[in-house]
Amino acid sequence: MSLELFLTQVIPVRQKLYRFAFRLLGNEEDAQDITQDALMKVWSMPEKMKELQNMEAWCMRITRNLALDKIKSKKYRMADELDRAGEMPALQQHSPHAVAEQNDVMQKVRRVIGSLPEKYQTIIQLRDIDGYAYQEIADILELDMNEVKVNLHRARKMVREKLQNLQVYGV
């Protein structure tokens, strides 16, 4: 029973767990380790798996806690890693110039988001990239739902101001 649950509900969210860990740690290898550790931890608690209503939120919460522990345990130089993370696959553009310009814009946005406080970054990622509902975000971050809404509003406001200051416009 727990194996079936694990294969159908936990393994499919592996990408999300990795992305979450990667955004928090800014390092591919550590993010992979944390993802693996999170999966191991979930696997070691079959009784809990059966009880849970939202397994995905629980997995995300475990990943976050492990990643935050890792950050606390060693001093991270995240800036370099995030710069490397900026080297994203190019969008479907025709001219190399446009591709370079687009990558530059994406990197700026990434930096803007990376410069936000950790809580705001996480909330933006969970809502705007992973598409979680407020309640799910509240479960993952162990916050009150109203607190999630307030923080999301503040995070978006901050992103908007920073983008305006940088004059980053779409290509």
């Binding site: 990408q15 990795y18 992979q32 696997w43 070691s44 908007r160 983008l163 779409g170």
Partner: protein, 165 residues
């Protein structure tokens, strides 16, 4: 027309009031090129392009490491002797309740026997007993009356001296 709707949605987005469906709509809109886009929408375009890119990016993850066999639920067998105090307490309570009930029954039996064989059902004797009790009461009452009589003499004497009568 579409731009107006998107602008309104975007304002809602900045205020943090959009639903998940509306946010998905914004991401879809910004994921395609729009040549004559107004400035307020251009401002948000890179952000939504970034979200879209992040959403569709598939990371190459290493194969999963082997998982240990799923931990089985531990069945803990407990010896009945482990809880001897619990059983002793139950036993003591049972003995206590039994003893109390037995005492109660005994008392009831004594009362019932006294009721059946007692003097109360014998009318003559009951009458005598009652009479005796009432006489005792009357005697005591009379004692009080005598004292009151003396007191009233005193009162009368005092009144005479004062010349009230």
């Amino acid at each position: 027309m579409e731009y107006k709707k998107i602008s309104a949605l975007l304002e809602k987005y900045w205020e943090g009031e959009t639903s998940l469906e509306e946010e998905a709509l914004l991401r879809r809109f910004f994921s395609t090129a729009h040549p004559d886009m107004p400035d307020d929408l251009k401002e948000a375009m890179p952000l939504f392009q970034f979200f879209h890119e992040e959403e569709v990016t598939v990371y190459e993850l290493p194969p999963l490491k082997e998982f240990p066999p799923a931990p089985e639920m531990k069945v803990v067998t407990m010896s009945p002797l482990q809880h001897w105090m619990k059983y002793a307490a139950v036993l003591l309570m049972a003995i206590g309740i039994g003893y109390a009930m037995k005492q109660q029954q005994r008392q009831e039996r004594v009362v019932a026997a006294a009721w059946q064989h007692g003097d109360i059902e014998d009318p003559q004797r009951a009458f005598d007993e009652t009479k005796k009790a009432l006489q005792l009461l009357a005697r005591n009452l009379n004692k009080g009356t005598d004292k009151m009589q003396k007191l009233s003499y005193f009162n009368e004497a005092t009144d005479k001296i004062e010349g009230k009568n």
